[in-house]
């Protein structure tokens, strides 16, 4: 009797002690998690056994025997599933990078315009944002794809600019550059320009600290990185020959082409994400209290400097964390590419390869791992940036 009561007391004391209770809960949670994983692995093994399948990645080295229309590196249907996967990764990476860039530019612009005091601008942007973000992104992709594929003209009636750019339902054809040897000089000029800008920013800061002189840093950087290489390009005798696409038979040959699937997916994803980014940017700017700008004005700072020195540093701290989520969303939403036949990770290894080889388990593990890598890379870069701008505060 006594020992039972003592035991009860021990249990109740353990359970009512805050720290010990935490340890007990953690032990049970970990045990539960392991049991679940153990069960799932066992379940997968026994089911694969029952189907007579093994678990192996050998299929990656067999011929894929399907075509992919957009490939950055050479690919034919005789190449392996592994190479097809790499093409898929490149296509996903391309849409993610191009999408993030366009979404950021459009999103920041819209976010700032949304705060405009001009009634018309501010209403138009408001309507755009509300329309875009309240329609599912898949519909946007299908709609833009439909417009590109069905409404744009045939190659024979292509919309053209200067007879070198052609917009057709088969894609957007552009001249492709062919670099001559003198182009090296231009690349060197560009490298010098970039190096100069890095040096000049430090130099300008040092001179300002010492003498108070303020240089037009942005203009001079722009000149060094853009205008200087362009001048060198012309001085070197324009060492690029352009291969202009030419209509041959039913389609254009030569030059570069942006395929309609890429165009549709890129525009739809970027414009969709831009609407969310615009709201994040607007919120970030509003979050900097009006008192901050008033204090800066009262000290005699001009509006431009106030934005640069007071508003942006404080707004970025609010903007960056949710902006990271939007970048991740855009990257993951790119898997909707399969709806319009853009050959990304899901369409290659997670789609055709999976169907042809029947290796669902292996393919899905690869797809999951790849998206995980993409997402973790983006968020680690953004977290690094976030920490860097946060350090300024405390």
């Amino acid at each position: 009797m006594e020992s039972v009561e003592q035991k009860r007391n021990i249990i109740s004391t353990l359970w009512n002690d805050k720290e010990k209770r935490a340890v007990i809960i953690q032990i049970f949670s970990i045990a539960g998690l392991f049991a679940l994983v153990w069960f799932m692995i066992g379940n997968a093994i026994s089911n694969l056994d029952a189907l007579g399948k093994g678990f192996s990645f050998d299929f990656l080295f067999q011929p894929a025997s399907y075509d992919i229309n957009q490939h950055l590196i050479s690919y034919t249907s005789r190449d392996t599933h592994l190479r097809a996967t790499i093409i898929g990764i490149m296509n996903t990476a391309m849409i993610a990078v191009a999408g993030i860039i366009l979404a950021t530019v459009v999103g920041f612009t819209l976010g700032v315009l949304r705060l405009s005091k001009n009634f018309l601008i501010n209403r138009i942007v408001y309507i755009y944002i509300e329309y875009i973000r309240n329609v599912p992104v898949l519909l946007h992709i299908l709609l833009v794809h439909g417009v590109v594929v069905h409404s744009l003209p045939n190659p024979k009636a292509a919309m053209t600019f200067n007879d070198s750019f052609f917009l057709t339902k088969r894609g957007f054809f552009m001249p492709s550059p062919d670099f001559e040897s003198a182009m090296t000089v231009v690349w060197i000029a560009l490298a010098i320009g970039i190096a100069f800008t890095f040096w000049f920013r430090r130099y300008a800061k040092r001179v300002q600290d010492e003498t108070g002189k303020i240089f037009p840093v942005f203009l001079i950087s722009f000149g060094a990185v853009v205008i200087f290489p362009v001048l060198v390009y012309f001085l070197a005798g324009s060492p690029i020959t352009w291969e202009i696409p030419v209509l041959k038979g039913f389609n254009f040959k030569g030059g570069m082409v942006v395929r309609p699937e890429f165009l549709a997916l890129w525009l739809a994803l970027s414009l969709y994400t831009a609407a969310f980014i615009a709201e994040i940017v607007r919120a970030g700017i509003i979050a900097v209290s009006h008192g901050q700008t008033e204090a800066a004005y009262a000290l005699g700072l001009r509006p431009g400097r106030t934005t640069q020195l007071i508003v942006i540093p404080q707004a970025l701290r609010v903007i960056v964390p949710p902006l990271t989520s939007q970048y991740l969303n855009l990257t993951k939403n790119s898997s909707l590419a399969i709806a319009i036949g853009y050959m990304d990770i899901v369409a290659t290894i997670g789609g055709i390869s999976l169907n042809q080889t029947g290796r669902e388990m292996e393919c899905m593990i690869i797809v999951l791992a790849l998206y995980l890598i993409f997402s973790l890379s983006i968020s680690s870069v953004m977290n690094w940036y976030n920490k860097r701008i946060k350090l300024v505060e405390r």
Binding site: D209, A298, L309
Partner: protein, 257 residues
């Protein structure tokens, strides 16, 4: 007392702020009605009145944080118009201290103080920081120079805000209810700094409910109600012998307890 002496001492005949028949509307709401005010160099003016009477709006018009729609404001010989050059020139001469301090939270105290001298006056950093340290010593918190505003108490933050304005060496200081957001024990430390400033003979316009401060340092007390200047007088006369019945009512309310 010496206060009585200082209040007569530094005032000159030169007019530094001239507000003439100034009106302001927010939409259809007439906030400021026919304001006429001449401020002499070295004068210390306290503006009081019930909330919503337009006190803050009036002094915010002086450095163009608010725009007036009618009448003239001339500060130090420069007329306030839409001319950005004039606005810049006036803001360089006029410092302002806010109710909620408005320090820049992402910059250290030292950076808060040296920002405007570096970017507006284009001073070398070292010189700007030396000036900043000098003013921090004057407001008695040089040891906080490398901290961030969020790490300071309210009274310390307000003293930093005063020092930040002083770093631009303005001829005129505007105070917009500088002690209203502070705990009672912190009010004194801020008022002490302001009294010291007043003794230097700097032109000051101060919106405040601190009647003790008004009695000690002001040459003139202005009472506003409903967007109008109702009454103005030198402090002893103003408090002992208010003329207008709205002034009497206001004074009886705030001096009652």
């Amino acid at each position: 007392m010496s206060e009585a002496q200082t209040s007569k001492m530094a005032v000159s005949d030169e007019t530094v702020i001239k507000i003439h028949k100034m009106h302001k509307w927010y939409g259809s709401f007439h906030v400021l009605k026919d304001i006429n005010l001449d401020v002499k160099r070295g004068e210390r003016i306290v503006v009081c009145g019930p909330s919503g009477s337009g006190k803050s709006t009036m002094i915010r018009c002086i450095n163009r944080l608010e725009e007036h729609q009618q009448g003239d404001i001339i500060v130090d010989g420069v007329e306030l118009t839409n001319d950005l050059k004039n606005i810049d020139a006036i803001r360089r001469e006029v410092g302002m201290v806010f109710q909620h301090f408005n320090l820049f939270p992402h910059l250290t105290i030292l950076e808060n103080l040296s920002l405007a001298p570096i970017w507006v006056k284009r001073e070398p950093r070292k010189q700007a920081e030396e000036t900043a340290m000098r003013y921090l010593e004057r407001v008695k918190i040089p040891e906080q120079a490398l901290k961030y505003p969020g790490q300071l108490s309210g009274g310390q933050q307000q003293r930093v805000a005063i020092a930040r304005s002083l770093c631009m060496n303005p001829r005129i200081m505007l105070f917009d209810e500088p002690t209203s957001a502070l705990d009672p024990e912190m009010i004194k430390e801020v008022l002490d700094v302001m009294i010291e400033l007043a003794e230097e003979g700097r032109t000051m316009i101060c919106v405040t409910h601190e009647m003790g401060f008004a009695k000690t340092v002001a040459n003139r007390v202005i009472f506003m109600d409903g967007g109008e200047i109702i009454e103005q007088n030198e402090p002893n006369e103003f408090f002992d012998n208010p003329q207008h019945e709205r002034t009497q009512l206001f004074l009886s309310q705030i001096l009652a307890h």
